[in-house]
Symmetry: C2
Subunit: 329 residues, 2 copies
Amino acid sequence: MTDIDVPQVADPEVAAMVRAEVEGRWPLGVSGLDEVVRYGLVPFGKMMGPWLLIRSSLAVGGDLATALPAAVALECVQVGAMMHDDIIDSDTQRRGKPAAHSVFGRQSAIVGGDGLFFHGFAALSECRQAGAPADRVAQALAILSRAGLRIGDAAIREIRMSREICPVPSYLDMIADKSGALLWMACGVGGALGGADDTALQALSRYSDQLGIAYQIRDDLMPYDGTRAGKPNISDVRNGRPTLPVLLAHARAPRAEQQHIERLLADTAAPAAERYAAMSDLVHAHDGVQAAREVSHRHVQQATAALETLPPGPHRDALEDLTVPGRLV
Amino acid sequence: MTDIDVPQVADPEVAAMVRAEVEGRWPLGVSGLDEVVRYGLVPFGKMMGPWLLIRSSLAVGGDLATALPAAVALECVQVGAMMHDDIIDSDTQRRGKPAAHSVFGRQSAIVGGDGLFFHGFAALSECRQAGAPADRVAQALAILSRAGLRIGDAAIREIRMSREICPVPSYLDMIADKSGALLWMACGVGGALGGADDTALQALSRYSDQLGIAYQIRDDLMPYDGTRAGKPNISDVRNGRPTLPVLLAHARAPRAEQQHIERLLADTAAPAAERYAAMSDLVHAHDGVQAAREVSHRHVQQATAALETLPPGPHRDALEDLTVPGRLV
């Protein structure tokens, strides 16, 4: 799981409030489990999840104070998932510093991720005291936990998909659960706490799923389109994970080069930098980048369309703003 | 974390209902994340956690149908914690078969444990549809998540306590959080769903904490007092984890034998079977078993006393029955 950190959409006011909440709950110098928890949370990401949660809540008539503990909950759950993902992917860097398992050891990082999940659910329960009706808290609980299950199921499928080519529809289904459910976790919990009716929740569900797919494709493209300055993240190639540009290049390539792509995915023992360079050549030679951009574009259009049934206003506009090219996708 | 599996207290009716719920939710042949989840849940343990939850709920006036999804939730959360513990402790057997990480790999077992946690919270949310007032679900959510945090904090402390002697009070504090919170998770969630008032919740809190400490001491004693037939579980010695009989023997031993105990804990590279044999001799030579039994006895008495403020009746009697020597402790 990648941190959702898109500078263009950072909302200084929302981010500052969530940061203050986190700093108040886990101040510098906390010990035991909370030391590992704080290490994961601070320095902060761009607070995209909390931002989506709060905007979704306000878009359906909710208020900020009620949603704030849930915004902290969301950050906890997402950081917990990243802490476990870094162990699973053997990624040693996160948010510009060593990953938690590199600092505290694998054992403590497993427990630390678990702790972030339980802190997330504990923070969600605090929405009751912050003014949310109990029924909305129970609904938000169902949404948060079921979204987590979709993400977990996608993680299992992703682990099993590694080292070989898979059909593009299976891949798109997997990332709808991996990244779509990640955004739905934010939009759905915010919507439920804000009192969304079924129509509004369905709109938020379609919006977040489609935007999540597009977001994941943006992430898939990063190693190949030069959008991120500096060293490309070659974690997917290193772990033999197929991504959309690779799958689409494979679909377009003649058989000999298809077999080359298949070998690059399968042979995870070979040096990752060399495999990445060869894969990058093949992706570009067979239009994998452009083809993936076109798929992304279709999903962004569906995300935009989904918002039409939400009540118009500045918060819906803010959600729609993420679909503008150059923003989240 | 050990499975709470005490044959004497198995309640065939409660266990059968929870098993039927689990089998219905995760039938034979489920795939993806749920395949790993089912592997952890089945074959069943003795359902001590679900049993405590349901008895606690009934003891304060709750009903069975409302508590049943929470009983499944509890089993999920506890099995998830065990799945992660087995990775942390490098334990390769669980419930008489290979541990999940031995079968599915470490990566999938991390995700599988996470999935069990999220299934647990999802099942808790279903108590609302099963008839629980939303406020009680929100309260149960707070109790379940905060108990999980106590267990996680204890796990971090336990990891850091390994390979050396620690003060007995620190150890008892740690096991109150490790095993006391494990039972509180059951009793507190059941109590909250059953509509317990503050007095009843406090009684259940004291009961579960004290009984949990005693339960953990029983577990600590197993490798040294021959209560479990067959091969003793030497996981603690293998991982250099101090337990109460070891700490109390150390406190009573002359300096030379104290140093021997310290070396046995620290030198985790030496063969575990030899270290266990030497540790067992030292524990017996300095009355570690008897001294630990006396500590356990005091905590059992406090557990019994805590129940006095609960409404009298068959369910309180059933909870008290666990404190009878030869039952849970």
